[in-house]
């Protein structure tokens, strides 16, 4: 089993919001929707914009530059101008902290 990587306290991410997390030279986006947390690659697959500056609505992240949308649960691209799915990563809340598992193969994408 791969190690879980600590991101931040759960309360550091507002409900229906996203936080940027940089690790080992790569950037990720970590989301909170209610009691659930999710993680994806941090850059939009369309023009490599940081998704952490975007808007989270109903389990959808919207890119701040061109409004491309992805489902944060499975990384599906939901229509123009994004065509390529987003890679997702396992995420959990453990003892009040958000953790993600990056060594594992991405769930989708």
């Amino acid at each position: 089993m791969n190690d879980w990587i600590d991101v931040c306290p759960f309360d550091d991410i507002d409900d229906e919001d996203v936080m940027r997390f940089d690790h080992a030279g790569k950037t990720y986006a970590v989301y909170r929707c209610g009691d659930q947390v999710y993680a994806t690659d941090g850059l939009c697959t369309h023009e490599k914009i940081h998704l952490a500056d975007g808007l989270v609505m109903d389990h959808v992240i919207e890119c701040p530059k061109h409004n491309g949308r992805f489902n944060i649960r499975d990384g599906r691209a939901l229509g123009a101008p994004v065509c390529v799915n987003l890679r997702t990563w396992p995420a959990r809340v453990h003892e009040g902290r958000v953790q993600i598992q990056l060594e594992a193969v991405g769930l989708h994408g």
């Binding site: 919207e62 101008p81 065509c83």
Partner: protein
Amino acid sequence: MTTASAATATSPTPLSRSRDDYRLIGGAGERAQTAGLVNAQWYQCAVPRAELKALMKRDDAHALRDTALWYGLILGCGALFVHGWTAGWNGWALALAYLAYATLYSSPADSRWHECSHGTAFKTRWMNDALYQLASFQLTRRPTRWRWSHARHHTDTLVTGRDPEFNVMLPPDLPALLLNFFALKNVPHELWVTLRHATGHISAEEKTFIPEMAWPSAVRTARAWVLAYVLIAGTAVVTQSWLPVLLLGAQPSMAGAWLMHTLGLTQHVGLPENVLDHRLNSRTILMGPVLRFLYWNMNYHVEHHMFPLVPYHALPKLHALMKHDCPPPYTSTPQALAEILPAIWRQRRDTGFSIARPLPPRP
């Protein structure tokens, strides 16, 4: 947490340029790439994340109200024109009624097309898509092509050889500018290319910004448009009346384009190319409530380009949050045009000329 970033601007080309520089293939795009202007980091004013999130929130109510009012006005003016047509009004009265109808049919469709292409007008996705298709038809603007070109416009705003949506390329083509007050170049071009798309042909330049997966959609929509035009013409023949042609399709698109064209000029024209700061290459103009309704607040153009997730109805609040870090807004459309028109005139001979907007001192 606030959003804040800085960008440096570097010109990839000599200041003077020709229209060939604007070609997406073989133009100045490669030099722009080398100069770091493509898909670059742009300046963003510092706006607290919490306040930005509040402004980005979507709803259906604003756009449903405004769309109902807009189509109500179109129908009202259309009914007045049809009444005048059948009652035999004199030429001037009938022309004025038609101009009001066509202006409402065409010009506000530009901002509706625009907001719905971003998906910010409504919270409900299908409502954005439906109004996007309707507004595109009213403008005679191919929906697939322009959705993708607009994404590129936001990535590389006014980057020579990359942005497909230059309103005025240098040196300015004055006859084309004048003709397009009634879309006399744009609409025939769109109709011609629609026919080409309907036969499955998409140009090499368009393929630089429309991904392959979207080509079938471009072809399908073009065929639907051809069918719509056949129906309009067929109805005119069957009813032995010009009314269907006057009320729907390209004719009202052109007759009512003057306001859209005028407002479109104010967005970027005369401002410098190849700068990575929307405060320098876009304009914010203060307008009255009528124009802001017709234009869906696109007069806050610096704000829109810097934060395109913010819906049109929240742009005045965004303006209040960031105006201290922006050039002073123009106080009226005539004030902006008084700067733009002489700039266009000068750029006929001096393509290196552009208007420098004053930035506030950095804190």
